[in-house]
Subunit: 454 residues, 4 copies
């Protein structure tokens, strides 16, 4: 636990070609004086991996860098994994154009989705594509680097992580997500207003967290020992607090600010159920049947649909890191987690792990989100404070839907996969129409679902 | 166990003024040579009770009668219960016009219900009215006749029965329903077609049953040792089997044959999930979000909505039993159950009881429907054959909604009652609209919800 | 359900060479006019099987016989099973001289056992020998006659039955034991005394039963609707009821009446825990650490140890059925069970089955004893009335010990088998002495534990 | 979280008159620059409390002191608790002479106990005395200082802590024990030998801990990232490692070094079950039936019985703290825990809390020992790494015995208390002798069991 120690490690980075995650992680590594070693990049998109090599090398060559990692792209998954102490998984299961199947086909059947990568028909189809890939990852990891810690960033987070454990129960994997940070940040701003104080660091906002990834809830929140829930209750009881935010939504839509909201959905959960939604409104709205009967209904909460065509457009235009820009911390926790698991500084943070007691009301083995204690080669979930029973009911249902999808994907069981579809809160159309929708979706994505019957 | 024995018993019949149940039970009693004794009728509607006295006396005076019971209407609940060996509960929680709140208000918010007395917003509101009454029943029963067997026929069946146990855990109560008989009858007709045999008695159709009342499923069916599921699978795979039945529905609507259907919903469950719905389609359709997005959608399955105004009209015009009509068995099982509990003839039948192992995947204590063994002063549930996991998931959710409603009614907790509303599969409207609907419903029924805040 | 039906079946009888069971079953079959068919006897002791053929043929040729079965001994297990509708398992896992290891070796280490074939070190070692044989049976049954009903009579009953399910989860097996009948008979005699009535048939004594085989308890008992527990409580409160019965024990010992007792242990459970032991005292005494610190202690309860040398002597001298003796019902229920499973007459009786809800406080999957409903090709456990919590605790512990032994036998895991030994209530000697005892026992029986390290 | 903060708190110290705990805690407080405030001492032994005031004042007046607390003895429990932020419970439930009932009476019946304050007949009787006192504490705490953190040091630790929660479920209490530290210290010494390094601080030995207090197990141990279990396995496999240590025991006995052992019992658990006993041998030996059949048997493991007469003698002669002695840290963690709960420095340590998921195999609600995360006004158990199943079985049984004792004490149910006695692993004598022993024990302690029938 002395700062002077410097650990030499190999990190395998799988996927991540077209995303900001790899540069962020490499920048954070470069700013960490306690680490050194090598990064092996593997992506089925070779060009993307090569581009990341260039970015990575420029980062570690940057004058701000306080550590050095060599950066190489490798040809085979096994080469990346061989000898790795840490494995980062951050892939796109199929080209972005597949989001058409995830989003546009359901929409034609009247099922709107704000994100469609975690839950709902889109999340399920994405899971069906990703799970077999994750099975392969799990098996190769246990062959090449069974002692490595595996950090998953891919969505659907819970199901990808669950697929690793389903294939290899002894794997040391967990899923990470920054949505909870956003809730801390939102509360930090409120603290600043309420207590006329500078906006505190998000880490000063203490939450009691439990749920499934992207459908996580804070059953308590405090700052500096002050319970924030009474203040929040006051705030949401203000007459106009839940006024129609359609105007905001329309402005966001025309400005293409898809990811922005006012947290009204998170606060609606707070008002109705007593726990604060601890993810973005776009995510929260998809897990229950109340917010998405129509685009108009959604707008009322200030939330907008992210259009499919924009997603395709954006992927094509994502610009790379500017090499001369100063290195700055990303705000992500990946490197802090690596530090903790190396024994450099213990960390308590929210992670996604198979449930083995941390949230007693949720199914055993389901991948759930809670705090965990990260320490030298140890990752132990902390038993979460209980959620309000009715919130737990909604989360349990999601965990059950995911359990069915996982089982269906594992056995390529088309009927079970459809039963999981029907159990999803967003699917409230007649069963025969749902069956047609499901067929269309599978057919569209069939090249990426090789083991399934057409 | 000798047929020659004749047991003398007192039966307390609570409610039942305006329904066919009391005459049916009395006719069945009159046809049973093993029983004799007295029937004490108690109804807050004194006229209705008096009318039943007249009917009852004419039944036991009938030349077909093989047993004698005296029939009296009493002024106080305690008088009816005092010394009773059996208590029959069959009440209407509030006047029929309250069904307006149960059915019409939700409909204005876009929530259609085919029955609305068991589940959905209507079933929940009805439960909020009935549960306090059932608490009173339970307490008076434990004071007046703690050893009596209590048979409940009132809907919502599960919640009324659960309310008895919540108030008095030592009560000897169970709920009875004949919906499963209808499934046996439907299969008996199919057996006749398939095997060119006369239609067998419904009791010859052996089902494996599990579920919540009105949302019960057969995971197996056989006749004469022949598994009927392969035949059923063949039948539902016929190309036109699930063709649009809207024409049937329209014919039913214009003929006011509200209770009729083709079983298409029951078979749709069979096709999609592998277990046969074992209740009428009108009931099954309400427990899931797929069949009721619109009246048109519902008609497609051959099912029609029972209109509120017809219900009111019917109640006004219900004719009484014709005194000279011959006595014939009702097809109900109440008297067989009384026989069994007196030790005259053991019986295995489906009943509703708090779960204590009979359906391991459903919550402990929730009132569930399964087979049970009835024997001299003994009622023991039989462990049900497992349901398909996805069907069990849907039933579990219903059991959870009911658990919330029960808790809310017990503590008059308005917020929890609303949370239960939101958890119901039929409620998929925005939360603020749902809150307005809930307020309207409570306000309309407020005279029958005395302990609740307006 | 018409008496006129006659079912033609094949019964495979496995083992049973040297026991009374096969003649009993054949006599009961011969007295059943509803059955006919063939019996295939298979025993690794060919001579014993041949002797049973002679006995069987004489039974079916007897003038009292009302049905006919052909009786053949076959050379291979598969031949016996092929086409069988029922399989009876009743074997001795190794020669009687192995009881030396089961009984005498533990005794040298200070561990007395009254029976030693179900629990304790002896029961465990016998299980280690029997389980691999039962795995073979299960696999061959699922190959040769997967739809057959399998009735096990071999001890350790729970573990042999559990081994069938562990090897083949879809097997239709259950274990049968008549110990509960003895409790009914004891109570029938008391009823006769208490109510000055002729001794009623044991079936008229209604018990609520739950437990593990040979460690089963009645949580209620009634006759003719009269609760017998108040009478029992009075009886055991009589000042001298629990007086020292050593004299009885000594008389039994010298008369070699090993199986006789006064039920004092069963009644001691009743007095201390509120549930009546529903098995013979010899069995009950072995499952807890209180009755067997010394032979003298045991005698105090009127119970005696069955000596090893007598067992060997008896096996050598067992006489065969006298061919001219009239056929009389055995009092066993095997044939009634066959009737029920053929759909001839439903039956409710106590059987041993994997727990899936019938005794909620015991481990899921453990083979437990409870009532079950037997009907045409159906066997469904009835949810047992709850045992007193402390009794349930003792049974749960036995179920846990058995679970460990089953797992150890399944994987031939010597360390786990020893851990199970140490968890047995009878093993209260130092761990190193226990380890030596375990080694000696394994070594003695090593020829019958082929897959284990010496 | 800045070191410069100084928190002002009131600590209520209940009991502790004659023990070293109060001086230790006060010394640790005096050495903490971040704290200040007042200590209110309450003891039914007024003299003892007064003596502690003198000691306490001398400590805070000491030149080594870096903080100041006022120290007062108060007359009434409520005065001590009023306004307290922390409550320390450390009482003796009845005079030391009552240990006669706990230890000597069982010994006359052949039941030896090494400690007799946690488990076994002695632990149970002590629990029966302590639980009503703890109920009173809980109720007064919730009245006087419901937000205070309550730290219990009294044995039986689990049951005293459980009694607080049974009486007041919303209480913020936990139990603390240093036995695990001893295991860390033992391993630290071995690390020093094995790796030729100075003895590391015990905190550097990382254990995975789970169990019930004094019957806790390490399922893993590491130092500096090095797994220590392979080394331990080697060590215990050394031929003479488990040789007879009777000579050591005899030496200890004659030198009155009762608390000393060689850890052989802890290592025997490791050898037999794969988890290392993480409490002193004196404690571990009492929870299973293998080590205490006789004093000789116990000596074989190098462990000795602490005689009752010495305990009495010692209490009379306990000397007080020497006022001029330098202040030194006690090695206990109480003050670190206070720091953590004030938000000064988060701490992960082992505590005793009602199980709500931290050890999934143990009963819900039972007070179990595991790691927990202590943070500003937060105490959350960490989900423990799974114990070997057989060890968990032994712990579960202890938790069940304790659950019975708690229920019996709460309702003053003599029969249930005796059933709990019989379920204890040490009680293996005939039930009638056990009943006599139980009667004698209750009679001896009857003045301290006021609500019980004689």
């Amino acid at each position: 636990m002395t700062g002077a120690r410097r650990e030499t490690i190999k990190i395998a980075y799988i996927g991540g070609g077209s995303r900001a995650w790899a540069p962020h992680l490499m920048a954070d590594l470069a700013l960490s004086p306690s680490l050194a070693g090598e990064i092996a990049l593997y992506d089925i998109d070779r060009e993307a991996a090569a581009a990341n090599v260039t970015v990575g090398r420029s980062i570690f060559a940057h004058s701000d860098a306080r550590s050095h990692f060599s950066v190489e792209a490798v040809e085979r998954l096994a080469d990346a994994l061989d000898g790795a102490g840490f494995v980062i998984l951050s892939i796109e299961p199929g080209p972005t154009t597949l989001r058409f199947a995830d989003l546009e086909i359901p929409q034609r059947y009247g099922i709107l989705q704000t994100v469609g990568d975690t839950t709902g028909p889109g999340g399920a189809l994405r899971a069906l594509r990703a799970i077999p890939i994750y099975e392969t990852f799990a098996r190769q990891i246990m062959e090449s680097c069974p002692d490595a810690w595996v950090i998953n960033y891919t969505n659907p987070m819970s199901l990808c992580t669950a697929a690793l454990y389903a294939a290899e129960p002894a794997i040391k994997a967990f899923g990470c997500c920054h949505e909870v940070f956003g809730t801390q940040e939102r509360l930090a701003k409120l603290v600043s207003e309420w207590f006329s104080t500078p906006v505190p660091d998000r880490r000063e906002i203490r939450l009691d967290i439990a749920g499934a990834n992207h459908f996580t809830f804070a059953s308590a929140a405090s700052w500096n020992g002050i319970d924030l829930f009474p203040k929040l209750r006051e705030m949401v009881a203000t007459p106009d607090f839940f006024a129609d935010h359609s105007e905001n939504a329309r402005a966001r839509k025309s400005a293409e600010r898809w990811f922005e909201s006012d947290g009204l959905v998170a606060f609606d959960f707070f008002r109705r159920f007593g726990a604060l939604g601890a993810a973005g409104d776009r995510h929260l709205a998809e897990f229950v049947p109340w917010y998405l009967p129509s685009e108009e209904s959604l707008h009322r909460w200030g939330v907008v649909l992210t259009p499919y065509e924009w997603r395709v457009r954006r992927m094509a235009s994502l610009s790379r890191r500017e090499p001369d820009a100063p290195l700055s911390p990303s705000g992500e926790e990946g490197v802090d987690q690596i530090h903790a698991l190396l024994g450099l500084a213990p960390l308590v943070t929210n992670v996604n792990l198979p449930n083995r007691g941390q949230i007693p009301g949720l199914p055993d083995g389901a991948v759930v989100e809670s705090y965990a204690l990260l320490d030298r080669d140890h990752l132990q979930p902390v038993v979460a404070a209980p959620l309000p029973a009715t919130i737990e009911g909604h989360v349990r249902r999601i965990a059950e839907v995911q359990g069915m999808t996982l089982a269906a994907a594992g056995t390529r069981d088309r009927e079970l996969a459809f039963q999981a579809f029907l159990f999803d809160p967003l699917v409230r159309i007649p069963t025969d129409r749902a069956a047609r929708m499901f067929d269309e979706m599978l057919r569209y994505a069939k090249d990426f679902l090789p083991a399934w019957r057409a």
